[in-house]
Amino acid sequence: MLRTLLSEDLPKSRVLAFLLAAIVLALFLTPFLVPGAKAMGVAAKILVFVVLVASYDLLLGYTGIVSFAHTMFFGIGAYGVAIAFTRLGPSWGALAAGLAGAVLLSALLAFVIGLFSLRVRAIFYAMITLAVASAFQTLASQLSDLTGGEDGLNFKVPEVLSPAFELHPDPVLGASLDGKLLTYYLVFAAAMLLFLAMLRIINSPFGRVLVAIRENDFRAEALGYRVVVYRTWSNVLAAVFATLAGSLLALWLRYNGPDTSLSFEIMLDILLMVVIGGMGTLYGALVGAALFVVAQSYLQDLLRLAHGALEGVPVVSALASPDRWLFWLGLLFVLSVYYFPAGIVGRLGNKR
């Protein structure tokens, strides 16, 4: 059962298995372990990014394609849901319509970009995706009637998922049983399912061909695998998963704007998470996203504490200023790449 769920791709070491189990368990229990809106928000963001980063690794780590258009697909998913809820009202039908529209648009775009440009050299492909993504970003802010422009869209979600919905009047273990909690578990379940689906894909015959193409596309072609077809499919699949991740984010935030789902900063974050977790290992997405998002969200708090404690110590307290959190994040990144060039999961023996 577990083997089938994990597609026979069990973590290769005990430490890794323990780490993964701990992360999943922590995410599952967050609303009760660490009550409060912030913790649940951070956990939801991790879940969304697990899917997003894993889908990017499908492309980068497994197929060897460098694309900068991944946030575009993420954005399409988020905007799809946001626009559908804004226009059609807070119904499940609107959610379905938004999802379907976004997935179709992403698949089509990824297919066209892939078919026309995956034949060119990797560096040109990366540049093409960069251009398409910038064009899309501009388009999204121009079409402000539809997208809300720079302000984005605030919208209502179906009743059961709204914070006002009460499952039970009394809180349990400090967590109020409301629509927000239900949304969290919806996001949790969806993220896990999507992750397992990707795990299945990379452990399917198709997934093995992707690895073969990454290793030696010339030979893969000579064996009878039409490389451009596999690359295109990989591109489409990665785009669809990124789109679904975007939809989850919008559903969770009940808001979407260019900065939450389309900005290049997110693209950068994805790259960092892939590298920290380990390229070419899907479990790396789980570890990378968890570590990165937690650091991103709590480093400032941590520094504030340190800053308070170190008050009066000249240079050190300045370094520990909460405004320096980006510096510390960068330092963490450099150190992790230096010590774990294959990523954390790669280091723990799951390189594939």
């Binding site: 093995r208 290793e215 039409r226």
Partner: protein, 258 residues
Amino acid sequence: MSSTPVLETRDLTIRFGGHVAVDAVSCAFHAGTLTAIVGPNGAGKTTYFNLISGQLAATAGDVLLDGVSLAGMPPSARTRAGLGRAFQLTNLFPNLSVIENVRLAVQARARVGLDLWQIWSRRRDLIARAEHVLERVALQSRRDAVAASLPHGDQRKLEVAMLLALEPEVFMFDEPTAGMSVDEVPVILDLIRGIKQDASKTVLLVEHKMDVVRELADRIIVLHNGALMADGEPEAVIASPVVQEAYLGMAPVAGEAT
């Protein structure tokens, strides 16, 4: 041998700038035969193979498989149509294990590459077939080694194993034993001999070692500066003055080229 040839090239030509690497080569290959292709270094043997298997596009001429033109077909489609090729310069999936290299060939042959939902490691049948092929090239002891870590001779064997796993109609060997140590060569030659026994298979063998050619070939064709210079029974071709002079006189017979 009046039946339609399995493979045929008609005026097959490729020009690189001003240099004609393969020059209007017309040749037909029939099932159940082994044709050796010989010629000095740079004669165009590998380029001829590249034109047949589709890695290079011909400047002129055509390749026909079972009477059907392959013009415009990518290498993958030609492989699926029954052309199998082992490369002169070893061409593997370097960071994957030996078994995985072969399994990918088996999987290509089984046409399950686009399956997204099966778990590959549960296809015991495909893995067993790959293991069987490894035994045939005497590489089973290196099953789980990373391909790039193999010594040269074993990499050549793996190259041949991947060709066997494809179970093609036409086998194209490009100097399969080059760089192998003396005791490794017989395994490969036995394999080629075995394929030759099968009357439905067609074998093309580029080989520099004349003793091997003499023993295995039903027919020899000689390429020289890209052109077909001689074509016929082994003894006759080897004995012909033009070949003696242009090729055998020039290149060391047991010489080695990679």
